[in-house]
Assembly symmetry: C2
Homo-oligomer: 185 residues x 2
DNA sequence: ACTTTTAGTGTACACTTGCTCATTAATTAT
DNA sequence: ATAATTAATGAGCAAGTGTACACTAAAAGT
C-alpha cells in the first residue's frame, strides 16, 4: 500500500512548520491555528491526521527513536556486556545519540512537555538493557528483569537529565567516561 | 502576615474541585471553566491565582514533596549510608511514601502530565542522595557529585516507574528488598 | 483517458481560553 | 463601628479549539 502523495505533502508541510516554530517557542504554546497557517494546511486537515500538536511531534519522535534502536543496538552485541565493571565506554552510544539530536532532546527534556516522551525514550533504553541482561546473565538470575532493567535504564537517563540541566556542557565522550566511573562507585 | 480568608476559601474550593475531577479524568483534560463551575469560583479569580490548572496541581504537589522531605530525610542520618552494599532496606522510605500517596503518584507518573512534576520529585530524591554522599564519602571523591546523585536518584525512580507500570502490584516493603538486591548485582 | 476513491478545503457553530476592567462585597486595621 | 483595603465578581472581547459537513480537487486504479 503506497502512501497517498497528498497525505505525504501535508505531513511534510506540518513537520517543517513545527520545526520552525519549535526554534523559538515551547511545544505547548504552539497553537494548531498558527501551525496550519505557516504550513498552508487547512485546520480541519490537521485534525484529521493528528488532533493535537503533541501527536505531530510524537511522529517525529518515533523516527528518532528508531535511529536509536537501529544504529545503536547492533554495536552492543559484539562488545562486553553493557553494565559490567569492565565496560568499554565506546560501546555505549546513547550519549552520542543524544548529542547528535541535541536540539530535539532539549525539547524532550524540557519541563513543559508531557511525560510520555520520556517514557518512549525510557522504553527504548530499557529494551536495550534488557537484551543485554538476557545475553550475558544467561537464563535465570534471581531478580525481576523488568525491575533490574528499569533501574539501570533510568540510571543512565538520570545522567542524561543532569547533562541537559548543565546545558550539555560535557561532550558525549565525557559522559561515557563518567558513566564508567559511576558504575565503579 | 495572615492569609486573607477569602483567598484561603477560594484556594480550598479549587483544590477540592480539582481532587474530585482528577478521580475520573486526566489533568490536561480538565478545563478552567469546568473547574471553576464546580468550585463556585469566578474564572477571573482562578486566573488571578494560578493561570493554568497545572499550577494549582503543582501547589498540592509541593505540599506532598514537603512530606517526603520532612518525614523521610531524618531517618537517613542515623543509618548506614543510603547506597552502600550493606544497606538496610527499612531506611529507604521513598517507596513507602509513594505507597502512602498512591492516588497522587498515579497522576504524577501518568503519561499526559508535564515532565515538570517528575523533575520536582527527581530533585527531592537527588537532594537526599546528595546529602547521603556528602556525609559518607566525606569531602572529595573523584566524581561529579551532581552526576553521581542524578544517576542514583533516577535509578531508584526507575524502579518507581516500573512499579507504577505494574500497577503497584508489589508492596513498598517488597520494593525495598528489591532495591537491595538490585544494588548487589 | 476516464472513473472511482479519498484527501483537502471552506465555512460554520458552540465552546474554551486568556485577559481586562469597572463594580461589588468580604476582610482587615483603626 | 467605621473606614480603608483588597479579593472576588460579572461582563465582555479577541483568539483558539474541536468538530461537522457539503464541496472541490488531487491521486490511484483500471
Amino acid at each position: 500500500m503506497k502512501v497517498d502523495l497528498r497525505v505525504y505533502k501535508t505531513k511534510e508541510a506540518l513537520r517543517k512548520a513545527l520545526m520552525i516554530l519549535l526554534k523559538d517557542k515551547g511545544l505547548n504554546s504552539i497553537s494548531v491555528t498558527e501551525l496550519c497557517r505557516l504550513a498552508n494546511v487547512n485546520r480541519g486537515t490537521f485534525y484529521a491526521h493528528y488532533g493535537q500538536v503533541e501527536n505531530l511531534f510524537e511522529e517525529y519522535f518515533k523516527s528518532i527513536m528508531k535511529d536509536l534502536g537501529e544504529s545503536y543496538l547492533e554495536p552492543y552485541r559484539h562488545e562486553q556486556n553493557l553494565l559490567s565493571k569492565n565496560l568499554n565506554p565506546s560501546t555505549i552510544r546513547i550519549f552520542h545519540h543524544i548529542e547528535h539530536y541535541q536540539p530535539f532532546y532539549r525539547i524532550v527534556f524540557s519541563k513543559t512537555v508531557p511525560l510520555s516522551y520520556y517514557y518512549l525514550l525510557f522504553d527504548h533504553v530499557q529494551q536495550l538493557i534488557r537484551n543485554d541482561i538476557r545475553e550475558h546473565y544467561a537464563s535465570g538470575i534471581d531478580i525481576d528483569i523488568a525491575m533490574l532493567s528499569a533501574y539501570q535504564a533510568n540510571a543512565i537517563l538520570g545522567l542524561a537529565i543532569e547533562w541537559h540541566r548543565q546545558d550539555f556542557a560535557q561532550s558525549a565522550a565525557d559522559m561515557n567516561r563518567l558513566l564508567v566511573r559511576v558504575l565503579r562507585v
